[in-house]
């Protein structure tokens, strides 16, 4: 049970607010608004020394944080405010979806609920941005009314919501996502950003206008890699967090069959035969029927509308890391370091890493750093430079084909003599990349079919494999 819900812009303006319970006599909306402002300040200037999110701060602490007014850490998603309510929030695309709760609720449930609201908003607006929300606020209030009543969750599925929501979305052009990774192969197609809703006719009644709807389904097999290398190239820790994500625009919501590798093994203990795919654990969306999963590794489900995750999987242990990093540091003289980083792409030659960027933090006392990239053919535009404001070298490559390698040499001059302490400030190297049409785990979609054969029903199926770095770090 929550007592209010609000969406704040990245600057802290309240874009959407809804009060469910009022605990003060004669309380007004204005009063509540000041609370979201206080909440926003708290997030913005979160003081990391405030150890316990639930703890009442001592007055001196408060004064201190008031004086400093600077952010020294990220605010946890759950904390207590002086008004005695617990505030929970999630951040999506810079927007803050938050709520307050007075009773001893389950934080997991509320966070899940907030994420669901954010996802539904995205489904309906097409994209999630401040502009999209401001333009569609009527639609979103309507959605909220159906999703939450008196602070309790009601209808939370996009497809069920469709039957009771009547406003039409105003589509906002997606002005390039904020991340600098726009690659035609990996960025979602524009049509993925179209809202799910059907149109409403003049009488305010729904028309089932599937006429102009293209029968499409988008399937992404996404893998995020977490790899940690020691300085000598030894893999210390490696996991893959993967998921199969879908967005369905299929008319008539047919039942689908999705088949995975037949030799898929779940669980750590069983050691599979060579070449089989062995994941640690897997979980499924609750719409998935698992009757045939044990026998044939086949899932059946009616895809809900909007974006949804069919399954999540997790894999630890040895896999072929797509990139290897070989760093070396040499002390040329007491104030100069020469750092060499070699990156080798070890995936097959028909694949490539896109938007590869390497971050190398340098000591605070760095005067200047000259970077020099020894390029090998086939790589696109590469650039390496020292970004002073962030105190690190940023080396970007548009493309790094499989089987090739790239070297960067950086000459770093320091303002003081190099000590072991200063040496320690170098690193760790962090690698960001994405590899289109490639996945490391070898988990595959054998087929995706409409369960019952319908004549003349030919949906477009867009299946993509994407491997991304989540935390790809090499120590120095």
């Amino acid at each position: 049970m929550i007592s209010n819900f609000f969406v704040l812009s990245p600057r802290g303006d309240t874009i959407i607010a809804k009060q469910y319970r009022n605990y003060r006599e004669g309380g007004t909306g204005a009063h509540e608004r000041s609370h979201t402002e206080a909440f926003f300040r708290k997030i913005k200037f979160w003081d990391e020394m405030n150890l316990t999110p639930g703890g009442e701060e001592t007055s001196s602490d408060q004064q201190k944080s008031g004086e400093k007014q600077q952010k020294t850490g990220d605010a946890p998603p759950v904390f207590m405010m002086p008004d005695g309510l617990s505030y929970l929030h999630v951040k999506r695309n810079g927007l803050i979806f938050g709520c307050a709760a007075a009773s001893n609720v389950s934080a997991v449930t509320i966070i899940d609920l907030l994420s669901t609201v954010a996802r539904v908003f995205k489904d309906y607006c097409g994209t999630l941005s401040e502009e999209a929300i401001r333009k569609n606020f009527i639609l979103l209030y309507e959605l909220l009314d159906e999703m939450l009543d008196y602070g309790y969750p009601q209808i939370t599925r996009t497809s069920t919501l469709k039957s009771c929501v009547y406003n039409e979305p105003i589509v906002v052009e997606n002005i390039g996502s904020t991340s600098n990774m726009i690659n035609p192969k990996t960025a979602s197609a524009n049509s993925v950003h179209k809202p799910v809703i059907s149109s409403v006719n003049a009488n305010g009644r729904k028309t089932d206008s599937n006429a102009n709807q293209k029968n499409e389904i988008f399937v992404d097999i996404l893998e995020r890699l977490n790899v940690l290398f020691s300085a000598n190239g030894y893999v210390l820790n490696s996991t893959i967090d993967g998921c199969i994500q879908m967005k369905s625009y299929l008319a008539g919501n047919p039942e689908l069959r999705l088949a995975l590798n037949e030799d898929l093994i779940i669980g750590k203990k069983e050691s599979g035969t060579y070449g089989s795919v062995n994941v640690d654990d897997i979980n499924f969306n609750d719409c998935v029927n698992l009757n045939e999963f044990e026998s044939a590794r086949t899932l059946t489900f009616v895809p809900p509308e909007g974006e949804f995750v069919v399954l999540n999987y997790r894999l630890t242990g040895d896999f072929n890391t797509p990139f290897r990093i070989f760093p070396s540091i040499e002390e040329v003289d007491s104030k100069t370091l020469e750092i060499t980083i070699l990156i080798r792409a070890e995936m097959p030659q028909n694949h490539f890493g896109a938007n590869v960027s390497v971050e190398l933090p340098l000591p605070k006392c760095t005067n200047v750093a000259h970077c020099n990239v020894i390029s090998s053919p086939g790589t696109g535009y590469t650039n390496a430079e020292f970004v002073r404001s962030e105190g690190k070298i940023l080396w970007t490559m548009k493309k790094l084909p499989g089987g090739t390698e790239q070297t960067m040499k950086a000459k770093v001059s320091l303002s003081q003599a190099c000590t072991t302490q200063i040496r320690r400030e170098v690193g760790p190297i962090n690698l960001n990349f994405e590899i289109p049409m490639y996945n490391v785990s070898k988990l595959q979609v054998r087929y995706l079919r409409i369960a019952e054969s319908m004549a003349g029903y030919t949906p477009y199926r867009w299946v993509r494999y994407v491997t991304q770095s989540n935390s790809y770090v090499c120590r120095l």
Partner: protein
Amino acid sequence: MSVVPAGVHTAQPVQFPPHANVNVSVGGPPGVAPVPDSYFTESKKGEVNELRNLLRNFATERDPKRKRDIIKKVIAYMTLGIDVSRLFTEMMLAIETRDLVIKKMVYLYLCNYAYSHPELAQMCTNTLQKDCGNDDPMVRGLALRSLCSLNLPQMVEYISEPLRKALSDHHAYVRKTGVMGILKLYHLDKESFEQCGFVDILYDMLRDVDSSVVANAIMVLNEVMSKTENGGMAINRAIMLHLLNRIHEFSEFDLVQVLELVPRYIPANADEGFQIMNLLDPVLRTSSCAAVLATVRAFLSMADQIAGSTEDCTEMKQQVVSRIKAPLITLVASGSSEVQYVLLKQIESLVELCPGSFDDEFRQFYIRYHEPTHVKFLKIEILPLLANLDNAPDIVNELGEMVFDQNTRISRLAVRSMAKIACRGNGGPGCAESIAQRMVELLDSNVEHVQSEAATALTLMLRKHADLKPVASMSLVRTLKYVQEPIGKASIIYLLGECGDLIHEAPYALEKLIDNYDTIKDVAVKHQLLNACLKLFFLRPPEMQRMLGRLLHKATDDVSSQDLHDRALLYYRLLRSGADPKTILAPIVQTNHNLGERVFTEDDDAQLRAELMEEFNTLATIYGKASVNFIRPEFQVVYKKMPAEHPLHEGGDTFGAGHVPVAPQSMPQPVVASREPAVAPVPETSAPDGFVADLLGFGAPSVPPVQASPPTAFSLASGVTMTGDEYQSKWAGISDADAIVSAVSLSSVPATTGEVESKLAGYSVVTMASGELPTEFKFFLYAKEAITGNMFLIQSNIGKAGEALMIITVKVSSEAGSANQQQQVDHLIQEIQKALG
């Protein structure tokens, strides 16, 4: 006047077509190209008036699109906080429309301003009530929701009727909205809520065909009953099993509502507990973290309930945790950072509940590059809890890498976590020593906060492992010179005092501090200086005597801290008293304490942890303190497990007695009557072969004291007969709440039902039906009192295992009212006791 485009918007499609009428009225200068408009343009005085004009033309406006836009504009102003309540009358006229989009917006407006304009809101009651009877279920639901959300006490009389109708509506959407409406009515006017008897209806609605209605009924019941002694909805076996059997119908958040009931339910026996766990197991495979966590809590509670002994319970919890480990980690891996944080908090408490359970997954708790700091902090705090013989070196290495992280808090926490591994002592032999070695290296690291943390860590480790002294003492004197942070400095001084026997120059290192006593700002440093000097004095009196004298002189003159001043004075007087100082000051100067296996008293939080496990998966787990400490009293809810006793329940000892607050003594009326007035009669009640009816009526098996009752005339008529149908209808005709439960202890468990029957027949207690179940005998009996003509309807059972106890539920069917029922039943019980005893 011109429209100011809001600065935040880039050029965007024109909302209004450049139609002359509209353009003029919103104030766009004629002749100018259409101004990019927005709902959030800055408000000017008079714009509300213009809106009023627009609304006046509303009825004549043909274009439905523009109609909507006019209303949208009003709502836009409203959400910006501009007072558009002046338009109330006009808006109410717009409510008469078939366009649901417009209708919804007007209702939104209405609910927003109703509280501040009650007299105006009352005007539209008629419209709302009419809409509650609309053909479209969406309109019915919408009107009902708005009607209940007006939040006006004077509206109560208009609400209850449509509400009651809605509850039997044929469309689930309306029923669901109606159920929430009841809750709103409850908060608006508790009296009329009681009068309407909605609680009974809500219990009935738990059997609604639509799962969302059921879920809402659970939510509402839980909130309405939260202040009763049950702390929420009353649960009995029939309700629980009914809900669990339908578990697949519930959608994500509705499912959570049902799952959250399970921890409060006490299963009838271990088998049922296992069945419930098996039934819930598939939930662990879903990707809904709310449902998974609710299931985890249900599992842990089941383990508490069905385990016979504490060891069993611990073992079963181990099994539960190892079952849920993989799904939880997958959720952490696939979730957003917010989900990760709250899940990790839950995992942290599970690790402490079952040490060792997550050890093999320790690499999942290594921090990752892009994680927000709160997740990183939490992971570093969990890592030491996972250390064991095998992985401790890996974990310590990993923490060692974090020590020099750019974020100072991460590096501090990393040092602290290493110390924790050393102090917990589960890292195997040599682990503590190698960590101490690292700490000593860190003392020389030249990074201030790292040195300080390392020094503090060493003090903790020395308290635990006195044998680390030689390692720790190596570089203290040198370090003392450059550690600046007060806590670190105090720690070093403490260490110097501890290791005084190993460090020759210790007194001289401290001497400088004594000389510069006046420059020391921090009280903690002064305290430690005093203590350390005292300790050294007993080790090496000749060197220290003069120094200590100087220090005591200065400290007793120091007025900055009362505590310090008094201590110094105490030491001084003790030393001067001439008594053997070694004995007097032993607690202070004792250096070679060895804690061995014990944990530090300040870390011993077993009791708190047990309290927190009771509140697993709530905010209490996140904050690490019990909910009474941070939830306002009006929102505190007691956590009570139900039902208190089960009819199926054999033995009676299988349940942890601690969980069921059984009344200390046998109560005169040991039953439910007042506790569950609202439990709806269960349909199967009348079936004589079901024991469901009993579920509602069983209290503690406490035997009412057989007292010498006043000799009132009581005798059972003989030769009474009754048909099965008659029996059933009479039984069903009496509320379960009026049933009286008692128990009779038998000399031994009967071999057959016939044995009991014939004995009872001798006392004019007639058997309607009886049967033998695997675990118990079941009897349906009746008897008639000779004088008053009261009929006693009796259902009873005798468990085959355990104590020979006959549990009896009696309903009295009497013409003469219910006076003296309890007394009559007491007599009847005595008769039965005589027959069987």
